[in-house]
């Protein structure tokens, strides 16, 4: 038999709160990411970078964004947060 884990019970309040926060964060995250991308273009124009440097900087931002979402997925030990 495969390993199973009895399904944990959650309070509806916890689920609702989680969802409300989550939807807000999804929209906020989307806007923030779009705005970082835009800010970078603004800054690069200010510094009048050449095309090669510009594309280098964009790559750097994409990499940072990508690393950031990977870290979001990193396993978080819930017990660490009990102290707060």
């Amino acid at each position: 038999n495969p390993r199973t884990r009895r399904m944990k019970k959650y309070s509806p309040e916890a689920f609702k709160f989680y969802m409300e926060q989550h939807v807000e964060n999804v929209i906020k995250g989307y806007k923030a990411r779009t705005s970082r991308r835009w800010q970078l273009e603004q800054e690069m124009n200010k510094f009048s970078l050449n095309d090669a440097s510009k594309s280098e900087m964009r790559k750097m931002l994409f990499q940072k964004e990508s690393n950031y979402i990977r870290l979001k997925r990193a396993k978080i030990d819930l017990s660490m947060f009990d102290m707060i």
Binding site: M7, P12, Q21, R70, F81
Partner: protein, 230 residues
């Protein structure tokens, strides 16, 4: 400092002030507390903002990375959601894993259980969620360290995960919607499911025939948004 260094330095600031927002403990919110009041207020704004825009692959992002982070999110939502109605989903009330009278699911994972077995819904969902958890915890499938690449079969595993998670939504909608209403969480379920559907449709992750048990609802949720954001 050269121009590039200045920009690099600035770029790091684009990311600051975010890391403390990525996790908010939400484990125990006592009834009647201030937070509980806040939650009630927030309910009205649930679903504001167009989730369809937010599912698209961001410029420059790796498709696997994007699918991975979203899959983990959907798993967490479904896990909590089912946890709220688990007490109503018993082997006697839900003898088989079904989504309405027309659809019945039998469990097989292709590894430990090769021949599909007919089992109760709680048992099936237990198998299913344990199997998904196992995939998410597997560093070879879902690498969590920065720089580790995804395996070649990542996409096919992700598709199987999402196809199976869909069945939990389907069971809840068909067999437990009155329980969901009783708990007053139907707006939350709808929002979670709508986001899920936008996501799987954007990248064609689930076959249309798998979605059949909830097709009507899907059409309804999406047409309502089309009205709202046209």
């Amino acid at each position: 400092m050269c121009k590039i260094c200045v920009l690099r330095f600035k770029m790091s600031f684009l990311f600051s002030n975010r890391h403390n927002k990525t996790f908010k403990p939400h484990k125990s919110i006592p009834e009647g507390s201030h937070q509980h009041e806040l939650m009630r207020h927030a309910a009205a704004t649930l679903g504001s903002g167009n989730l369809q825009l937010a599912v698209a692959l961001p410029e420059g992002e790796d498709l696997n990375e994007w699918i991975a982070v979203n899959t983990v999110d959907f798993f967490n939502q479904i896990n909590m959601l089912y946890g709220t109605i688990a007490e109503f989903c018993t082997p006697t009330k839900c003898e088989v894993m079904s989504a309405g009278p027309k659809y019945e699911y039998h469990w097989a994972d292709g590894v430990t259980i090769k021949k599909p077995i007919k089992c109760s819904a709680p048992r099936y969902i237990d198998y299913l969620m344990s199997w998904v958890q196992c995939q998410l915890d597997n560093e070879e499938v879902f690498p969590s360290a920065v720089g580790v690449p995804f395996s070649k079969n990542f996409m096919s595993i992700a598709k199987t995960i999402l196809k199976r998670l869909f069945r939990v939504y389907a069971h809840i909608y068909h067999q437990h919607f009155s329980d969901v209403m009783g708990l007053g969480e139907e707006a939350h379920l709808n929002t979670s499911f709508k986001h899920f559907i936008y996501f799987v449709q954007e990248f064609n992750l689930i076959d249309r025939r798998e979605l059949a048990p909830l097709q009507e609802l899907i059409d309804k949720l999406i047409s309502r948004d089309k009205e709202k954001y046209k």
